[in-house]
């Protein structure tokens, strides 16, 4: 490997590039099947394998994978019930799909040479928009204009409300942004960090005697990788918990 190639390999941004594997468009809109689409598909297939193939026996005494599927089910069901109440359970399939997809996509993204679907702001923003639209549409459908009570906290004197209502509105409007940027930035930063430290290893190896220090960034990568595993799970969890919290606002807008 010549130095130029090594430098190209160590480019930490390259991993986020989209490669059109099957270029095509529909009505002038580009809908190419890219590496991102491929890993979306793999994440979805992973979820299907876990939730459908592993549960096909419907065993009373579950095997390992079925037990995992059940754990995931009960975990998300418990989360939805706790944060959005029993009524929130009507959104359980949506929250579950969201959580499972993001979780598996994040975990797949941690395998070297794969692609992190959630490191793309457009993907996380699309999720956030779906969540917020769901909240707004369900809130208005369920409570009509009563949904706007969401912006008017109970038991607050009128002069304070004048200040508080705009703040509430701004905080509501910033929700899709914070929701999507949190996931995107965490995954992006983690992957860049891993790649940067990987680049250090390559640089040190190519720097004569300094190669003796090459194991140091490798140790850092091991530690970071553990952290990234935590972040992958945690961010999937945070995204879905916040989804539940927002849905809870739609179900019970009166605070």
């Amino acid at each position: 490997m010549n130095p130029e190639e090594a430098a190209a390999k160590s480019n930490p941004i390259e991993q986020f590039e989209l490669h059109r594997l099957w270029p095509f468009e529909i009505n002038g809109v580009e809908t190419s099947f890219t590496n991102a689409s491929l890993f979306m598909l793999l994440a979805a297939l992973g979820v299907v394998a876990l939730m459908i193939l592993a549960t096909s026996k419907k065993a009373i005494v579950p095997g390992r994978v079925q037990a995992m599927a059940e754990m995931l089910y009960e975990f998300v069901a418990g989360m939805v019930r706790q944060t959005a109440g029993t009524e929130g359970m009507k959104f359980f399939p949506f929250v579950f799909t969201l959580f499972a997809f993001i979780l598996i996509a994040n975990l797949i993204g941690l395998v070297p040479y794969t692609y992190s679907v959630t490191s793309q702001i457009v993907v996380t923003f699309a999720f956030a928009i779906v969540v917020i639209s769901l909240v707004v549409v369900y809130g208005l459908y369920r409570h009509g204009f009563g949904f706007l009570n969401l912006f008017v906290p109970h038991g607050v004197p009128l002069p304070v409300l004048v200040v508080l209502v705009p703040i509430e509105i701004i905080s509501f409007l910033s929700r899709p942004v914070s929701l999507s940027v949190r996931l995107f930035a965490n995954i992006l930063a983690g992957h860049i960090t891993l790649a940067v430290f990987g680049g250090f290893v390559v640089m040190l190896l190519g720097a004569g005697a300094w190669a003796a220090l090459a194991p140091v960034p490798i140790l850092a990568i091991v530690a970071l990788y553990a952290l990234e595993l935590l972040v992958a799970c945690l961010q999937a969890f945070v995204f879905s918990v916040l989804t539940c919290v927002y849905l809870n606002d739609a179900i019970h807008p009166g605070h």
């Binding site: 430098a7 480019n11 986020f16 590039e17 099947f33 991102a36 089910y73 799909t97 860049i192 790649a195």
Partner: protein, 191 residues
């Protein structure tokens, strides 16, 4: 920390782009950070909608009802098994109590039978002993009588023998015959 890393990443990217403008052949969009390249948005959203939509349908139609059903079935099975076990236990307890009661009754019965048998045997024994004793007493009495008669007879014989001996002695010595009757009378009187 992550901010510093991102900025260093951007710096690295800057290097990369300059490097590419010099040599690399691939068509890159200069200066654009891949997640922010707008021409990448449409294909990702399209496939995200398709794949996530399909996944949602599969989850809500197949996977979640199935897993929910499995968990519910297990709960029902455990509950019914526990109920059955509880029922069996109470049955077993009732059977044990009935058994104990039965055992107690039988034991009483057996003790009654034993006592009765003992009484009967004791009575029988007493009767037998009484009978044996009376028979023995009878025999003793008969034997006593026999002994007494034998004794008197023997004593009588002794007198006769003495009289005979005396008569024969006298005869030998004197040669005279002695009237035995008188001798006997004398013997008895001399006694």
């Amino acid at each position: 920390m992550s901010m510093a890393i991102i900025s260093s990443a951007f710096a690295a990217e800057g290097e990369q782009t300059t490097h590419e403008t010099v040599g690399a052949g691939e068509a890159h969009h200069e200066g654009a950070f891949p997640p922010f390249q707008t021409e990448n948005f449409a294909p990702q959203i399209f496939w995200l909608v398709v794949i996530f939509g399909l996944l949602y349908v599969l989850m809500s139609r197949i996977a979640l009802p199935r897993v929910g059903g499995i968990i519910e079935n297990r709960g029902a099975k455990i509950a019914s098994d526990l109920g059955a076990a509880r029922e069996m236990q109470s049955k077993a307890q009732a059977a044990a109590a009935a058994n104990d009661e039965n055992l107690r009754r039988r034991r009483d019965e057996a003790q009654g039978i034993g006592r009765e048998a003992q009484h009967k045997i004791a009575a029988e024994t007493a009767k037998q002993r009484e009978l044996a004793e009376s028979q023995a007493a009878e025999k003793i009495r008969a034997a006593d009588e026999r002994i007494a008669s034998a004794k008197t007879q023997a004593l009588a014989n002794v007198e006769q023998i003495a009289v005979d001996a005396a008569a024969s002695i006298v005869e030998k010595l004197t040669g005279a015959r002695i009237d035995q009757a008188a001798l006997a009378k004398h013997a008895t009187s001399s006694n």
